[in-house]
Amino acid sequence: MKRLILILGLLATLAALSLGFAQKSGGTLIAAWAQDPVSLDPQITSAYSSFQVLENVLDTLVTLDQQDKIVPSLATSWDVSSDGLTWTFHLRHDVKFSNGRPMTAQDVVYTYDRMLDPKTGSGNAYLLAGVKKVTAPDDYTVQFQLGAPNVALLGHLAVNKSVGIIAKESVQDGSIKTQPIGTGPFMITDFEPGTKVVLKKNPYYWQKGLPYLNEVDIRIIKDESVRQTALLSGDIDWAISVPPQSLDQLKNASGVVVDKTTAGAYWYIGVNLKNPYLKDPKVREAINYAINRKDITAAMTFGTGDPTQDPIPSSSAWAFNYAPYSYDPAKAKQLLSEAGYPDGFRMQIMPTTQYPESVRGAQVIQQELAQVGIKVTIKNLEWAQWLQEEGKGNYDTYVCSWNGLVDPDDYFYAQQKTGEVFNFTGYSNPKVDQLLTEGRKTQGFDARKAIYKQVNKMVVDDAPYIYMYNPANINAYRSYVKGYAARPDQAVNFTKTWLDK
């Protein structure tokens, strides 16, 4: 017995040692991105390719863990006044920017003042909606004064690095677009648009002993088959995405890890409610019955996505799994007749070359709608033109996605509330508006879930968006890359990543 205890003790010590000392410091990770980061100014860009770089460069007051739970980061704790109008954050005392200057509450105030200033032109300022003033009562305390209570604010301060704290030095010298200075584990030392971004270890990083890597070389490899080959041949260590059609091949390849998780994101058909046909709810209902989500998901993701009729993925705690429709072309035809279009009508669908899956999706939708008499023309545009047409409402329907969503408010508020910033469809339902406002005021998971359950049902029934599927976030890397995991919020974080070679 004694001997057994001794052996167990030895084993435990060995295990502890191997855990404690296993991480090797140093080395360069060569990572491949699929899209060029468009501007690295966190407050201006909305490109995921930019946020995925900035994830490693900036810190936020609070952040999300692997399970999308909100946890402390630059702020150690926070409290809300009883009227919900004042949020107080208590900051860490040991944080420095990568240029060596200590970070204080003044920097937080500077960051959010710049974001709220209309002259900045921040497309992300909606995350601070309702914030009237940000102040610093002392060097390590920050207060947000709100015009109306907003429970979602905490989630918004964590959602991605658009709300990361920046040093004003990089704004003043104009380097914010290429080399924003933050307090994160890495700092940007080189950015060559279209080609590469180089990240070096931040010597002043506040989490002692981290990051393990000395450097991350980010290469932009747009062609998915080249990215895959580069990974298989070992030219790169890590790839942000791989062609979904070759997942099986990659899974069987030795020395490669395919890391897949359901993303807090959805792909949908956006419907222009000013269109004379599409403004009729019966027509939108007919489209919901006419499309086969399983086929569309197969075509767009090669089976890696999960077909859905509402936006929140079933892996989320906020999932509702509301699915009133079925694939039923006969019913769709009947609904079209009831709406007064027994012979269907003509409309356009607008995918973009930027996301090849949107083009594949549009082709399937075209065929399926043809079967119920709706004649669809595909208007496939390159990204810059697509953004303009979508932004100005020059479309009948479009195919797109929303990414990096956490709180149910992220899924609905800015997209579906009347007149909100990203309500491009023209959707307006006073009951939905009222519930969304209420959702921001209400505390407690159950109470909020009850509210968003109603919102979810109404939006799916009214169908300004026709939801298609929740995509998976799939990263692939060499098996010697340790301490990395694909995340539902699609963030790419190399803080604890190390190379076992």
């Binding site: 468009v38 501007s39 002259k119 497309g123 950015f191 648009p193 041949s233 953004l387």
Partner: protein
């Protein structure tokens, strides 16, 4: 060749460049999409688009924008900064130009190594098996899209054989071996295709000269085949061949844009394509000017080389 002729040509070049710049400047805003919207992505509100366009100076009248751009170049030699990344364009060009030049020259070299021997060999015995062989090969080379050939080469030499890197560029500071290894596949992609095209021109230029009386005379007076070809045929075919190389450079440069994208090569081609997709007007403008200049310079060099090849030509 007189100095006057050279100055005249340079004067024309400047006029052409001016015309090109006015043309691109007036066409660009007509293309739908704006750099402000590209920067903001899907999360663009009208207010933020307007604020960014103001920061970028795009709300000024077009002639004012043109003048500030032109005066920057003429007075300060400065191409301005990228609207998207905020990087100085002159610095970007200086970094990327050598990569593109090296790639273009390596591709041209490969192209010539393919075109000259195969063109000559097939012209010497038209209708023979080897002529047919060259025709078939060059037809394949001409028909293959460059992006497809690039990926095929990557699959074979990088993924299957592990001989060469699949993408990227290694600066000379990393060692000559690494530098050359990275050039081979992209240069081969562009070179094979342009070599196939040139081979057909070399063949027909050779055939044309071979049919001339003086070749028959040279043969009749008993000169060996080798001397006839070296002294009479090649020399006279050279003018046509040089013209073709000059013209071919245009095709080569455009396929280099594609090759740079496939291989993530940090050159001017990938810069130009990115600028187009992102509506980064000043970067696009600079790229167009650079490409126009290089075409004009190549044309000039082609013309000038005629004199060296055929002293009977003289420019006044």
């Amino acid at each position: 060749m007189s100095l006057r002729y050279l100055l005249q040509r340079l004067g024309t070049l400047l006029l052409v460049l001016f015309g090109v710049s006015v043309l691109t400047f007036s066409i660009m805003p007509l293309v739908p999409g704006s750099p402000a919207r590209v920067t903001l992505g899907v999360q663009a509100t009208d207010a933020s688009v307007a604020a960014l366009e103001h920061q970028m100076g795009l709300d000024r009248p077009l002639p004012v924008q043109y003048w500030s751009w032109l005066s920057g170049i003429v007075l300060h030699g400065d191409f301005g900064t990228s609207l998207i990344s905020g990087k100085p364009i002159t610095e970007q060009v200086a970094r990327r130009l050598p990569a593109t030049l090296v790639l273009a020259l390596a591709a041209l070299l490969i192209g010539l190594l393919i075109a000259l021997p195969s063109g000559i060999v097939s012209a010497l015995k038209p209708g023979s098996a080897r002529d047919l062989g060259v025709s078939v090969m060059s037809q394949i080379g001409v028909s293959i899209p460059d992006f497809w050939l690039g990926i095929l080469l990557i699959l074979v030499f990088a993924q299957a054989l592990h001989w060469l890197p699949s993408n990227g560029y290694a600066p000379l500071s990393q060692g000559l071996g690494d530098y050359l290894k990275h050039i081979i596949l992209p240069a081969l992609t562009a070179g094979v295709i342009s070599g196939s095209i040139m081979a057909r021109f070399v063949r027909s230029a050779m055939l044309e000269v071979l049919g001339n009386d003086y070749v028959r005379t040279a043969r009749a007076k008993g000169l060996g085949a080798r001397r006839v070809i070296a002294k009479h045929v090649l020399r006279n075919a050279a003018i046509t061949v040089v013209t073709i190389i000059g013209l071919q450079m245009a095709t080569l440069l455009s396929s280099i844009v594609v090759v740079e994208i496939i291989f993530s090569w940090p050159g001017l081609g990938s810069m130009a394509l990115n600028a187009t997709l992102q509506r980064d007007y000043p970067v696009l403008q600079a790229s167009v000017l650079l490409f126009a200049t290089s075409f004009a310079v190549i044309n000039l060099l082609t013309d000038l080389s005629y004199v060296l090849l055929d002293p009977s030509l003289e420019y006044a």
